[in-house]
């Protein structure tokens, strides 16, 4: 056959590429052309590009080895623009499109002449496994420096530095039968299940469905196999119960038949997704499939043989040679030597020969190969060398010859003289490995089968495997097995199967294969030229042998020591060969060595697809109060509290200058202390509790007493876990004899509700009590300050007289004309009224308050001011001043502990444990810095003796610290060992910069210790 001049390796005919459509592309800065239907890999081979990358560790030149997901070398960086960069794309899986721009991920400054390659060549012999660990171990602080250059040298691809213009999405799916892989087994399984009425999803990772049939030599029903593929796909496509997902990789097989499918919808069309009707299409989609049955028809990966210099460009696996010739019309060389342990690899030589190029020899490890394909090769006059193998490839940037010798695989020695055959391509095959990755994701142990020399999936409920994945390789048997697997899946769902009649495929008589992994060399493994096992991670047979000599016997340890099977490769080509070498070194069998477990993802998935729509403003829900718009219009700065957006402070513009947070907070604090302020406290958790046993229940979950709380009264409560540690606090109001309203911290709301349900449902189901979250139903506005009563009195019918409406009372009435509950509780230490109205009325009430509040200079304040005001009063915030190791007693809140309550409330018993009775526990105190200008750092450690040797004994830490405008100085809350007995002591806070602050331990209540201001 003749060849295209611009693509020297492209055949004039054959394959499924469209020669009338030429596509231009750029690889490593050079322009090439290919055809529609090409992958980037087939187009590179068509153009005679030998070197596609530099190896990870030794920086050796590497070429294309395979034709599918198992390709270890041709891993490229894709994208013409910065925003479109995609790392880690396999050229064998990337469809060619016009304008495609790619470059090698490894190789600096370039793949042809590589600086690191010199290092590799010089030091290669001195880079045993663990080289990086051993060499760059000390000092640890320098690792970051080393790593920068190692990474630059190794090249692991780059993530884009600009925002991705594309979008991605997720889709949840359910089906009766998910079939993974649309080769002969998968198509047969899918058709059987579909005919039986099951809801079927059939996915396949390749550009076209058909799997091995796309390059099969074997006719089906007397016609080329692709015609059967077309007919079958047509039949499936016409059924409503079938979803076909081409270009879709099943990447992860998770618990309970949950499978994630990565559908690349537009990756074959360009760098970014095209637009349709002015809208950009979804670039790729993650399908989250819950399948009742999963049929794995994932096929096989052919194992290359492990011989010396088997990584020189021009070394391929045999099946890939057939794929490139038959599917893409590309012959990846001129003179072929094939090294094989089996019959099926003969196809590569037959295809090569039919393409009109020279097959120098077929080197067969068997003594008397006699299968049908062998006979056909011999009949074509192809030289078959038996009992032998290629022991070494010659050549630097491309294979120039194969060194061939008789071998004794059992004794692992050569058994005859070495012959050198000039050639530019060596194809090898050590047999097939079923693709068991997906089944391994579930934790299912693969099973070794001596008859096929490979692992097959173990058993898992809801999973079947079929065809090549199950170790069945002959085409008629594969189709029959697919039909069978489809029937089994349908029947497992309790339905009756309707299998179809298998098409006619003539069986091919095959001779027996032999076990062949690493090929012996004249020199021992450690001194022979490198024999690569894992090309992507640069793991050689010698490296594995060294690992076993150093005592790494477990396959898992060998894996971690040599990095075999790591990373995006996940051991697709090399794992079995690696295990065989470990087995040889340890004189064990492969099943005795065992296998490592493959992990998701099968091939890399872009972050875009994983994230889907859950990014930017949709990353996490945002919760707004009913007053949010007002805060926005007032220019509030916001703070995230859980999912809530809360006003942090309200900066004003004074003389054309916007206040800093410090200035705004100082102003807001003084407004509350001197006049009146208002806070949107709607985010506080609110739980409505009803039932005859509500009061009893409260007594069990709170540390303090609830038996006598009368309707109209409010009480502050502490909630502990049963270990005695504080978990939440808040006020609970008695709305009626059997009706209470509990408030929780903003962040604790959902957790506290679940906590109450937990105790009610699991321990005390006999209590008649019900809980409901009403957080969003009520808006809460806190009016606080000396003028609070005067302001509220203008717009309410509730009697606000200090005797009629006492501190810790609540009243029902109207505020601004709408029904309201008003609670006289205080988190600021000032006279306070918390107005609760239905959320829909909130804006009206809030605005009415401001209309009337103008004359009182009513000032809105945010969470920062709230924190300062409450800290001045020594009021804790759970989760800031406590951390899950603080008891109520540590906080000095003995007044809120009802030790004499009849029921052993949650946390009570733990408070008498020896640990909680220790007198040197960290206790809650105030700290007054000796220098009034100092605001201590929150989290700063406290020591009693600053002169002690480092490491010092840390005796406490600062939990809250602010500048107090009212006090005119900094102040802090802290926990200090034995702090309650240390009032007046001086403690020290050594800082990172060497300064040491001094502070005096004082009461945590800095303002109005008698509580007179809130009780007016």
């Amino acid at each position: 056959m003749s060849q295209s001049p611009s693509q020297p390796n492209r055949l004039a005919q054959g394959g499924q590429v469209d020669r009338s459509r030429t596509l231009n592309f750029t690889f490593n800065g050079k322009r090439y052309s290919g055809h529609a239907g090409d992958t980037l890999a087939s187009a590179l081979l068509a153009n005679g590009v030998d070197i596609v990358n530099r190896s990870f560790k030794y920086s050796r030149p590497r070429g294309i080895v395979a034709a599918g997901a198992e390709e270890p070398n041709a891993v490229v960086q894709l994208g013409a623009s910065e925003a479109a960069q995609v790392p880690n794309v396999r050229a064998t899986q990337q469809a060619l499109y016009d304008g495609l721009t790619a470059r090698s991920t490894n190789g600096w400054p370039n793949v042809q002449r590589d600086l690191m390659g010199m290092v590799g060549k010089v030091s290669g012999a001195f880079m045993p496994p663990g080289f990086y660990y051993k060499t760059f171990m000390a000092p640890a602080s320098l690792w970051m420096t080393y790593e920068k250059y190692i990474r630059k040298g190794a090249g692991l691809g780059n993530s884009p530095t600009e925002a991705d213009p594309d979008h991605y999405d997720h889709m949840n799916r359910h089906c009766d039968v998910l079939v993974v892989g649309a080769g002969p087994a998968g198509l047969a399984a899918a058709l059987t299940a579909a005919r039986s009425g099951s809801r079927v999803i059939l996915c396949d990772e390749q550009e076209a469905m058909g799997g091995s049939l796309l390059d099969s030599r074997e006719p089906i029903d007397g016609a080329p196999a692709v015609q059967w593929v077309e007919r079958t796909l047509e039949a499936l496509g016409a059924m409503d119960n079938v979803t076909l997902l081409p270009r879709t990789t099943a990447n992860g097989y998770h618990d309970h038949n949950f499978v994630t499918l990565h559908e690349r919808r537009t990756e074959h069309l360009g760098d970014t997704a095209p637009t349709r009707d002015g809208r950009r299409q979804v670039r790729s989609r993650l399908h989250r499939v819950r399948a009742r049955q999963v049929v794995l028809a994932t096929g096989t990966h052919e194992r290359p043989l492990v011989y010396a210099n088997n990584d020189v460009p021009g070394n391929l696996v045999a099946g890939a040679v057939s794929t490139y010739i038959r599917r893409y019309g590309v012959v990846p060389g001129n003179r072929l030597v094939l090294s094989t342990s089996n019959d099926h690899a003969y196809r590569a030589a037959l295809d090569w020969h039919e393409a009109g190029r020279e097959v120098v020899a077929i080197v067969d490890a068997r003594a008397n190969p006699d299968g049908e394909l062998v006979e056909r090769a011999r009949a074509l006059g192809i030289r078959v060398i038996t009992d032998s193998a290629v022991i070494e490839a010659k050549g630097a940037n491309r294979v120039s010859a194969a060194r061939v010798a008789k071998i004794d695989a059992q004794l692992f020695t050569l058994a005859g003289r070495v012959e050198e055959l000039a050639c530019d391509t060596i194809a090898s095959s050590g047999g097939y490995s079923p693709v068991i990755h997906l089944s391994s994701h579930t934790g299912t142990r693969p099973l070794w089968r001596d008859d096929i020399l490979g692992f097959v999936p173990g058993t898992l409920k809801g999973m079947t495997s079929a065809g090549g994945a199950q170790g069945i390789y002959a085409l008629p048997a594969v189709i029959a097995d697919g039909i069978d697997a489809g029937s089994q899946a349908v029947q497992a769902n309790g339905q009756s199967a309707e299998p179809f009649e298998a098409p006619l495929v003539a069986p091919i008589r095959e001779g027996e294969s032999v076990a062949l992994y690493q090929i012996p060399h004249e020199k021992p493994t450690l001194r022979a030229p490198k024999q690569f096992v894992d090309l992507q991670n640069d793991v050689s047979a010698a490296g594995i042998e060294v690992a076993t000599r150093e005592g790494f016997e477990s396959i898992e340890h060998v894996k971690r020591y040599t990095v075999m099977g790591f990373g995006t490769d996940q051991g697709k080509l090399g794992n079995i060969n690696g295990m065989a070498i470990v087995a040889r070194c340890l004189r064990r069998t492969i099943p005795e060595v065992g296998t490592t477990v493959f992990r998701p993802n099968y091939t890399p998935v872009t972050f875009g697809a994983i994230v889907g729509r859950h990014c930017r403003e949709l990353f996490d829900p945002e919760r707004y109060t009913a007053l949010h718009q007002w805060h926005v219009e007032q220019g509030a700065e916001f703070e995230d509290v859980g999912q809530w957006k809360r006003p942090w402070y309200f900066p004003r513009t004074v003389n054309g200058k916007k206040e800093s947070m410090h200035e705004a907070v100082a102003r807001e604090c003084l407004a509350v202390r001197e006049r009146v302020g208002i806070l949107d406290a709607s985010t506080l958790g609110k739980i409505d509790i009803q039932g005859p046993d509500a009061r009893e229940f409260l007594g069990r979950v709170y540390t303090n007493k609830w038996a006598k709380l009368a309707p109209g009264r409010v009480r502050y409560g502490l909630m502990c876990k049963d270990d005695g540690m504080l978990m939440d606090d808040g006020t609970t109001s008695c709305l009626g004899e059997n009706h209470f309203l509990m408030t929780t911290t903003t962040g604790g709301a959902a957790g506290v509700l679940e906590w109450l349900e937990l105790w009610h449902q699991t321990e005390w189901p006999e209590l008649d009590v019900y809980f409901n979250s009403v957080t969003d139903h009520w808006a809460t506005m806190t009016v606080t300050g000396p003028d609070a009563r005067k302001l509220l009195a203008e717009i309410t019918d509730i009697d606000l007289d200090r005797e009629a409406f006492k501190f810790m009372d609540w009243r029902e009435g109207t505020v601004a004309g709408v029904p309201a509950r008003v609670f006289r509780i205080s988190f600021t230490g000032e006279l306070s009224f918390e107005i609760n109205v239905q959320a829909n009325y909130a804006m009206h009430v809030w605005k009415t308050l401001f209309e009337h509040g103008e004359k009182y200079q009513l000032t809105p304040y945010g969470t920062e001011t709230m924190h300062v005001l409450r800290a001045e009063k020594g009021l804790i915030i759970v989760g800031q001043d406590t951390d899950g190791s603080v008891t109520p007693e540590d906080l000095g809140m003995q007044w809120a502990i009802g030790y004499d309550k009849p029921f052993a409330w949650i946390g009570k018993r733990a408070l008498s444990r020896s640990d909680t009775r220790r007198t040197d526990r960290k206790q809650f105190v105030g700290l007054k810095p000796k220098d009034p200008k100092v605001v201590l750092e929150e989290g700063a450690q406290i020591v009693f003796d600053p002169k002690q040797a480092i490491p010092m004994v840390m005796s406490g830490h600062v939990t809250s610290s602010y500048y107090s405008p009212s006090l005119g100085q900094g102040f802090a809350l802290a926990v200090v060992k034995g702090g309650h007995e240390r009032m007046g002591d001086t403690v020290y806070l050594p800082m990172v910069d060497g300064t040491v602050h001094e502070a005096e331990i004082v009461s945590p209540v800095f303002i109005d210790p008698k509580g007179e201001r809130q009780n007016v």
Binding site: H256, N257, F258, R599, L758, P765, K908, R913
Partner: protein
């Protein structure tokens, strides 16, 4: 991601709707004050960590808000059954051992999920988890 049958909703739902709450059937001592420090410490802090059958407390947090129990195999992650609060499991490590000895394959009833790979099957293939 688990597919969990809520015995109250009587439907399989995605794991995202549930929260795990630790080992099931940990009863709070009726008289905490009567417990020694050690007994109380056991109740508070010590939990089983079996390889095999484990009874767990879960809550249908974004659903019916009901707490219920799950019997799960901690190696295969298979859920063998789910049952309501106050009920006892029909499948336990002991019952499975008995059934396995007798050579029976168990299928749970009603809203329960079926039994899958047994310990023996899991142990039959060598190789550590990677």
């Amino acid at each position: 991601m688990f597919h969990i049958y809520c015995p109250y909703c009587e439907e399989h739902r995605e794991e995202e709707e549930f929260h795990p709450k630790g080992q099931a059937h940990i009863a709070r001592p009726a008289e905490p004050e009567a417990c020694s420090d050690e007994e109380w410490g056991d109740y508070l802090f010590f939990r089983d960590n079996p390889r095999g059958i484990h009874h767990e407390l879960w809550v249908h947090a974004i659903g019916c808000r009901k707490f219920f129990n799950i019997t799960r195999h901690t190696a295969s992650y298979e859920i063998l059954e789910t049952y309501k609060m106050g009920e006892q499991p029909t499948i336990t490590a002991e019952s499975l051992a008995r059934e396995e000895k007798a050579g029976h394959v168990q299928v749970a009833e009603g809203g329960q999920q079926t039994v899958g790979a047994s310990d023996a099957a899991l142990a039959s293939v060598k190789g550590a988890q990677g």
